[in-house]
């Protein structure tokens, strides 16, 4: 098992009640497995099955690997500009 720190933003952070959560997943972990675990940990938050995820400042796909120490963020639909 590996613990991965995930930053939350905007409505996700409000719904979970935190800016950052630590998620325990089996190693080697993928982004998809991380999201599934996070959703299971926080069922009251409306985090979609395939949210936008950034790993080390770049958008990542569900199959991409993720490890402890990576900079991981869950991003609500973008609304900048």
């Amino acid at each position: 098992m590996v613990s991965i720190r995930v930053q939350l933003f905007a409505q996700y952070a409000e719904q979970v009640g935190r800016n950052v959560v630590d998620v325990e997943v089996a190693a080697p972990a993928t982004v998809g497995a991380l999201v599934a675990r996070l959703r299971a940990d926080h069922p009251a938050a409306s985090i979609p099955a395939t949210p936008l995820v950034a790993v080390n400042l770049t958008q990542a796909r569900p199959a991409d690997p993720v490890s402890a120490g990576d900079d991981v963020a869950l991003l609500p639909p973008l609304a900048g500009g």
């Binding site: 930053q7 933003f9 905007a10 409505q11 409000e14 719904q15 959703r39 069922p43 009251a44 938050a45 409306s46 985090i47 936008l52 950034a54 400042l57 770049t58 900079d71 963020a73 991003l75 609500p76 639909p77 973008l78 609304a79 900048g80 500009g81």
Partner: protein, 155 residues
């Protein structure tokens, strides 16, 4: 130049224009994204929007905006682009984003300026919370409609 592209004060067009001015450029295009008081079909509660609070995943937004500006130089040789996105509470009427592009020819200045705003909307991790006159707030999506919320559907 590594000045922060995300700022928390009123945007200054003069300062941005000074960054791109060049004797080789014949045209400079400017875009300001300004906070308006709501979408045509008002779907958010309250007596009207008083402002929008912008928040960001700062490290990624800074990097992505810098990358977009570099892409302008690559796609339109000779073009010089500068931009700032404002964070924090931006009152109705104020600019949340300012983009300036100077290029040898005006066609490229217009094209590149549009490129930047469209890329910003697609790629920057920035979010908006509307503030209403009645004191309520609503997270809104890129079109200004309430962002999806509520409990996850039962499995």
């Amino acid at each position: 130049m590594n000045v922060p592209l995300l700022v928390r004060n009123r945007l200054s067009l003069d300062a941005l224009l000074a960054e791109v001015v060049s004797h080789e450029c014949g045209g400079t295009a400017v875009f300001l994204g300004t906070v308006r008081n709501g979408p045509e079909e008002k779907s958010a509660p309250g007596d009207g929007v008083t402002g929008i609070e912008y928040s960001a995943y700062d490290a990624m937004a800074e990097r992505e905006l810098g990358t977009i500006l570099t892409e302008v130089q690559e796609r339109w040789p000779g073009a010089r682009a500068a931009a700032r996105h404002r964070l924090g509470l931006v009152p109705v009427g104020d600019a949340s984003i300012a983009i300036v592009v100077a290029a040898p020819h005006r066609r490229h200045a217009f094209e590149a300026c549009r490129y930047v705003i469209e890329a910003v909307k697609r790629r920057l991790p920035i979010w908006k919370k509307e503030y209403h006159a009645d004191g309520t707030t609503t997270w809104v999506d890129a079109e200004g409609r309430p962002a999806e919320s509520g409990p996850a559907p039962a499995r």
